[in-house]
């Protein structure tokens, strides 16, 4: 029994038809996992199977320490959304419910190479010249 019901899979597959360039999901799991750990890995596996433009790499936070350091990932489950470039997008926890849509949105934006923001926002963002770390706390429902 999958986590993504067949009727949802059909809809997700359709949305992912909008992808242009390949996107890589880099997922970090860990042994003796947290509440949603196993589900998170299963969910990204099922998601990655829904588009040939989506690829998936899975690492273990405890074992693959070099990879975790490379991505700056210090907790699991974690999912990095990237293409050839790492834009600094991370999802920590199980991307379920409303936040599953957030993950799809990020995949599509990366794939299209366009943030979809207003021109004014892009101009302002281009002027930022110091590191900015945004941590957005969300809930699974």
């Amino acid at each position: 029994m999958g986590l993504i019901p067949e009727e949802d899979a059909v809809e997700i597959r359709e949305r992912l038809q909008g992808m242009i360039n390949p996107v890589r999901l880099v997922h970090f799991t860990q042994e003796l996992n947290l509440e949603y750990g196993r589900e998170a890995e299963q969910l990204v596996r099922e998601l990655a199977a829904l588009s040939e433009k989506l690829s998936l790499e899975i690492y273990n936070l405890q074992i693959d320490k070099g990879k975790a350091a490379e991505y700056g990932v210090d907790k699991a489950p974690a999912t990095v959304i990237r293409d050839d470039k790492d834009y600094g997008l991370r999802f920590y926890g199980l991307p379920a419910g409303y936040e599953f849509g957030t993950l799809l949105d990020a995949i599509l934006s990366v794939s299209k190479g366009d943030s979809g923001l207003q021109a004014g926002s892009k101009e302002k963002l281009a002027t930022v010249n110091q590191p900015v770390h945004l941590e957005v706390f969300v809930t699974p429902t």
Binding site: Y87, R90, K122, A126, P131, V132, L134, V138, T139, P140
Partner: protein, 73 residues
């Protein structure tokens, strides 16, 4: 959350994490997150709620050091 990801795409100095708060309660407690969404900026400032794009961006930029952005106004 979608906006934070989109902001990160526009500038290599910006990175964005979505954090499922029930999964990481210690971190949520550390930042005193009582309601979601809450956006923590550089571990020091916070913006509560889901705001429209331009307003959300301005709130984030306001929290940065004055020298951080070239004034475009």
């Amino acid at each position: 959350m979608r906006l934070a990801y989109r902001f990160a795409m526009e500038n290599d100095l910006i990175r964005a994490d979505a954090i499922e708060s029930a999964e990481f309660p210690e971190l949520a407690a550390q930042y005193r997150v009582y309601a979601v969404p809450q956006t923590v900026i550089n571990a020091t400032a916070a913006v509560e709620g889901a705001l429209p794009e331009a307003f959300f961006l301005d709130r984030i930029l306001e929290t940065l050091k004055p020298a951080a952005t070239a004034e475009t106004a």
